[in-house]
């Protein structure tokens, strides 16, 4: 069997249903083999779009995303997508073509050292040097990408390997001496953690993307039900605990709720579950949780005590660890604390000025999306103000319903990710909450959604600015809006129509609900909703970068 066929056969063995990619010179043999493949191939219009789509597919489904691109520029176009997936622990298998082995290192046409380039942004990568290794490498790649703390794995395939002949036999198991992820938490540590929790007076759970990845939302809810400890989540943890519940503090961090940040700051015990104390969460690390002890449950030992010293580390899968803790734990006596938390929620809710007679407030659009979808949609976001409003004003109640580039903060991620999410979950409405800046970064993928009749809704919160940078310029750089005004913009309605999608422009409050209704009735093509929003609206609350919670900027203070 040819190497190219070995790749396709291996993907069949892995039960791959969707593959994303773009052809090119040295991968023609692989595309030749893909011609009759029994899985669906989604041709992107830029390799970055293919990787983000595979990433969105993986996040929505919990299954690895599979990508193929050619050598050279095809491979380098994947880099941002791979780094995005790496930062957020998303399982991807990325095949890249490579020039034939004898040409490697000779500056051959479309040659680039992609294993060298992607070394720090993949969980692991391979350059296939012998056809005998090909099937084993693919098996290992799937195993590595999807186990432990997941991540992208890249396989660079020289074209002469794709053309070489070898018998196909897919290994049943993998043997990796240096890779043995730990799933079970240490029983002694679990017991100690439970004791600490039982004696705590002001505990808070801080749940991250790891809870989504390990499908531990149910276990988290059971743990909270038994202990009644309030829960805040990171951006990537949104949905693991219902934000509509009394015990939810919603999101913490730079643009988190006042009550989440305040409660964490006041806590005497912080229980971190599948989270990594990112600087957007902690702010000034020396003043983060001044009086709290820390329990940290994470599958990645390198995440523990990285930024914040931890009193009780538990290395393991949070699904298993939470289930074990729920079995043995007794509820702490924290009624007083819960009363405090209730008060914080009552006194400092997320707000915006609803009575503005002028242009539409972006928060209103997000709330209306929540209302009309009954909170049952999958929300993808771009990066910037649109992302934060989407995180704050839509109430997430289920995991894998909020898909966003958290760690890398990749503009242009949301729309291709929405395509992947819609393919993974055809029964769901998928909405990309976008900015007018971000959406222009991967707008070429619109034709993919049209071609595959994917009814993704792109809700552009259009303020004619690169809004988040403008906000920083306003607050910290003397209002000098240096190169952030982008009101020299395309007509998004005409652009939608040019691609065969539906476009609508919404200028007034009265038009918001009907436009959304109309969009939700369309089920056979993508829809662009161009919401002309209030131009200089800011995201609040805001803890300025590198500062402590005490420096939080609330809307009312500015007014």
């Amino acid at each position: 069997m040819k190497g190219a066929d070995i790749i396709v056969e291996s993907l069949k063995q892995e039960k791959v249903e969707h593959m994303f990619g773009y052809p090119g010179g040295v991968v023609i043999p692989i595309f030749h083999a893909l011609y009759n493949a029994p899985f669906r191939f989604i041709l992107s219009r830029h390799e970055q779009g293919a990787v983000h789509a595979a990433d969105g597919y993986a996040r929505a489904s919990g299954r690895p995303g599979v990508v193929i691109a050619t050598s050279g520029p095809g491979a380098t176009n994947c880099v941002t997508g791979i780094a995005t997936a790496h930062m957020d622990s998303v399982p991807l298998i990325v095949f890249t073509g490579q020039v034939k082995r004898e040409q490697i290192g000779n500056d051959a046409f479309q040659e680039v050292d992609i294993t060298g380039i992607t070394r720090p942004i993949t969980k692991h990568n391979y350059l296939v040097q012998d056809i005998k290794d090909l099937a084993r490498i693919i098996k290992e790649a799937f195993y590595i990408a999807t186990t432990g703390r997941p991540g992208p794995v890249l396989i660079d395939v020289p074209v002469d390997i794709s053309n070489a002949e070898y018998k196909f036999s897919y290994p049943e198991t993998v043997h990796l001496r240096g890779y043995k992820p730990v799933y079970e938490g240490h029983p002694g540590q679990i017991k100690k953690a439970c004791q600490l929790i039982e004696n705590s007076k002001r505990p808070v759970i801080y749940a991250g993307g790891g809870v989504v990845i390990s499908n531990a939302s149910k276990e988290l809810r059971e743990f909270v039900k038994k202990t009644q400890i309030p829960v805040t989540t990171t951006l990537l943890g949104l949905g693991v605990y219902p934000e509509t519940d009394r015990l939810s503090l919603e999101m913490l961090g730079m643009h988190g709720t006042y009550y989440a940040n305040h409660a964490v700051n006041e806590s005497d015990l912080l229980i971190a579950v599948g989270a990594r104390f990112d600087d957007r969460v902690t702010g000034k690390i020396a003043e983060f949780i001044p009086s709290a002890e820390v329990i940290h449950i994470d599958i990645d030992p390198a995440s523990v005590s990285k930024n914040v010293p931890v009193n009780i580390p538990i290395v393991g899968d949070c699904k298993q660890v939470l289930a074990e803790m729920t079995q043995i734990i007794k509820a702490p006596e924290i009624d007083e604390w819960l009363a405090v938390v209730d008060g914080l929620k009552r006194e400092h809710p997320l707000t915006y000025e609803k009575n503005d007679k002028g242009r539409i407030k972006p928060q209103f659009v997000v709330e209306e999306i929540y209302k009309q979808t009954k909170g049952d949609a999958i929300i993808c976001t771009e990066v910037g103000q649109n992302q934060m409003w989407a995180a704050q004003f839509y109430k997430y109640t289920q995991p894998r319903t909020f898909i966003s580039s958290g760690g890398l903060g990749t503009m242009g991620y949301g729309f291709p990710a929405a395509i992947g999410a819609q393919l993974a979950r055809p029964e769901k409405r998928v909405i990309d909450i976008a900015g007018d800046g971000s959406i222009q970064m991967n707008i070429q993928e619109l034709i993919v959604a049209v071609q595959h009749r994917l009814p993704v809704i792109i809700a552009i919160l259009n303020n004619g600015f690169l809004g988040m940078v403008r906000q920083w310029q306003q607050l910290f750089y003397e209002k000098r809006y240096s190169h952030t005004c982008i009101d020299f913009a395309p007509d998004f309605v005409k652009l939608a129509e040019a691609y065969g999608a539906v476009g609508m422009r919404i200028d007034t409050y009265e038009e918001v609900a009907p436009a959304l209704q109309k969009a939700l009735e369309i089920t056979d093509r993508p829809i662009i909703l161009d919401f002309r929003i209030s131009r200089e609206e800011n995201v609040y609350p805001m803890v300025p970068a590198g500062q402590s919670f005490k420096e939080i900027i609330m809307r009312e203070l500015l007014a």
Binding site: H124, G178, I285, A302
Partner: protein
């Protein structure tokens, strides 16, 4: 809960790896990505054909080295990471030194070499090249004693380090 910067000191990290291409680059880049300059790095064959050991000597602070060790453990091709810094070890290193040696100084240099059991590797009209093996401390001493004569060239192999039984 402040994370303070620790003191900078020298660490000796022993990394057992699968003998595959690209492993050296993966290991080295974990140090370089944090702006750490590696003092020495040796890659040694072992009793197992497909396993190598890298002995890395690096300056750093405790917290960052701890993180680097965890990151090393995450590499798929890394089998085991051991910090030899504060453990009982045997360490050896080899140095080649080319030193100025006019005929009047030659006898002194020979004598010094004898004390350190040096090989006389090469002699020219104006220089002597000596090779010395030993523990790194010993080699430091040898180099210090040769400095007054004028060292023209010097190369150290970097140390290898084994835990004591």
């Amino acid at each position: 809960m402040a994370s303070t910067e620790g003191d900078i000191r020298q660490y000796v990290i022993s990394v057992k790896v699968e003998n595959r291409f690209g492993v050296l680059a993966r290991v080295a880049s974990l140090f370089s990505a944090r702006g750490y300059n590696i003092d020495s790095l040796t890659v040694s064959a072992t009793e197992q054909e497909d396993v190598s050991i890298m002995t890395i000597v690096v300056q750093g602070d405790d917290r960052v080295i701890e993180q680097v060790k965890k990151q090393l453990n995450k590499l798929i091709n890394v089998i085991k990471v051991t910090d030899h810094t504060d453990l009982p070890t045997v360490e050896r290193e080899f140095v080649l030194v080319k030193v100025n040696a006019t005929s009047s100084k030659r006898a002194e240099i020979y004598q010094l070499g004898e004390i350190f059991k040096a090989d006389i590797a090469d002699i020219s009209p104006k220089t002597i090249t000596l090779g010395v093996k030993g523990d790194p401390e010993n080699i430091n001493n040898f180099i210090e004693l040769l400095k007054p004569y004028g060292i023209k060239e010097l190369m150290r192999t970097g140390r290898v380090s084994l835990l004591k039984e």
